[in-house]
């Protein structure tokens, strides 16, 4: 099948456009239902670019770059786990829903354990530790999701001679653009974090080994 790299270019340009529109046309601090989805665009009569907006767009660029570099560090630190997670994430929408459910339920479990741990003096630091671990898990899983997204997009465009860094860059751009869309953005962020946590837990921190108590049973019966 002949590749269509222009599809990937269109996707990347659409993502950049989405970020620009969200920055120039929307205003979180002065949003009202009756003024529509993009109140600032209504006020200015379009996408008026003033000096302060350049700073805002620069901030988006810096955030995107920061997320990309963090992801690159994770890719180099744990390439096999990321590959394993990405392969699983690309295996279908049902699997994605499964990971979303696992991530949300793990968050509930961690919250419950954290609150219960607060009640005892000797387990009081546990919640802080758990929040840190949960955060790291979410970062690792989101990197896997971002890489899978970019790889799938490149494959869709028929770009086969891709490097993992390009796949990750495209995925980071797509995911970042989606998280900037008003109202949809927080939902996408929550979903991507939950899916990330879910896939990390399901692959047992990317190792691919199953969660089982069999070693304990064998030890007991021996």
């Amino acid at each position: 099948m002949k590749g269509k790299p222009w599809l990937v270019l269109v996707l990347a340009c659409t993502s950049v456009g989405l970020i620009v529109i969200a920055e120039l046309a929307f205003q979180w601090d002065d949003w009202r239902v009756w003024r529509g989805a993009f109140p600032r665009a209504v006020d200015t009569g379009g996408l008026g670019l003033v000096r302060a907006d350049v700073g805002g767009l620069g901030l988006h660029l810096a955030r995107l770059l920061g997320q990309y570099l963090l992801g690159v560090l994770v890719l180099f630190a744990a390439p096999r786990p990321v590959r394993r997670m990405a392969d699983l994430l690309e295996s279908g929408g049902r699997q994605m829903l499964r990971y979303l459910a696992i991530g949300l339920l793990i968050a509930v479990l961690i919250a419950a354990v954290a609150v219960a741990a607060v009640l005892s003096m000797h387990t009081f630091p546990v919640p802080f530790l758990m929040v840190g671990v949960f955060f790291l898990i979410a970062i690792g899983g989101t990197v896997g999701l971002t890489y899978a997204l970019g790889r799938a997009a490149l494959r869709w465009g028929g770009v086969t001679d891709r490097t993992p860094l390009l796949s990750y860059a495209l995925g980071a751009l797509l995911l970042y653009a989606l998280t900037q869309v008003p109202f949809l953005g927080p939902v996408v962020l929550l979903a991507s974090w939950s899916i990330g946590v879910g896939v990390v837990i399901a692959t047992r921190f990317g190792s691919g080994r199953p969660w089982t108590l069999a070693p304990l049973v064998e030890e007991g019966s021996a």
Partner: protein
């Protein structure tokens, strides 16, 4: 070489299969499956009920619990870092004292409903996660 017992067995009349045996087996199997489905549905219902009860117990307690937490701000962290740089032992001792106060404050403010609500919410969540992870392991094993 055939044994005399084999000859004897071959000459014995075979027991006729009852004509209704297959039908009764199918009926029994269907009953077992129906019971299994009923048991699974009851378990799902119980988990949903427990989770709903947990949420119902926890939601009214969230506001008092969050009131006990100190407000987090960059300015507050900056003040703490400056204190840490100026006098590390004093800053660490102060943080420990505040942490212990916070712990006793939260533990004192939390009602018993919270513990029950947490258990009711956490146990179904754990059960579902184990089910989801176990299902995945089985699928991966069958795929391999």
């Amino acid at each position: 070489m055939k044994d005399w017992l084999d000859d004897l067995l071959s000459e014995l009349p075979s027991e006729p299969v009852r004509p209704e045996l297959q039908r009764s087996l199918e009926r029994r199997l269907a009953a077992v499956r129906r019971a299994e489905v009923r048991r699974r549905r009851a378990w799902y219902g119980l988990r949903a009920l427990a989770a709903a009860a947990g949420v119902w117990l926890l939601v009214p307690q969230l506001q008092p619990a969050t009131r006990a937490l100190p407000p987090l701000s960059y300015a507050g962290i900056g003040v703490w870092l400056r204190g840490l740089a100026a006098s590390p032992p004093e800053a660490i001792a102060g943080t420990l004292r505040r942490t212990l106060d916070l712990e006793s404050g939260i533990a004192g403010n939390l009602a018993p409903d919270v513990a029950v609500g947490l258990a009711l919410l956490a146990l179904p969540a754990l059960s579902i996660v184990i089910g989801l992870l176990g299902g995945q392991t089985q699928r991966e094993a069958s795929a391999a």
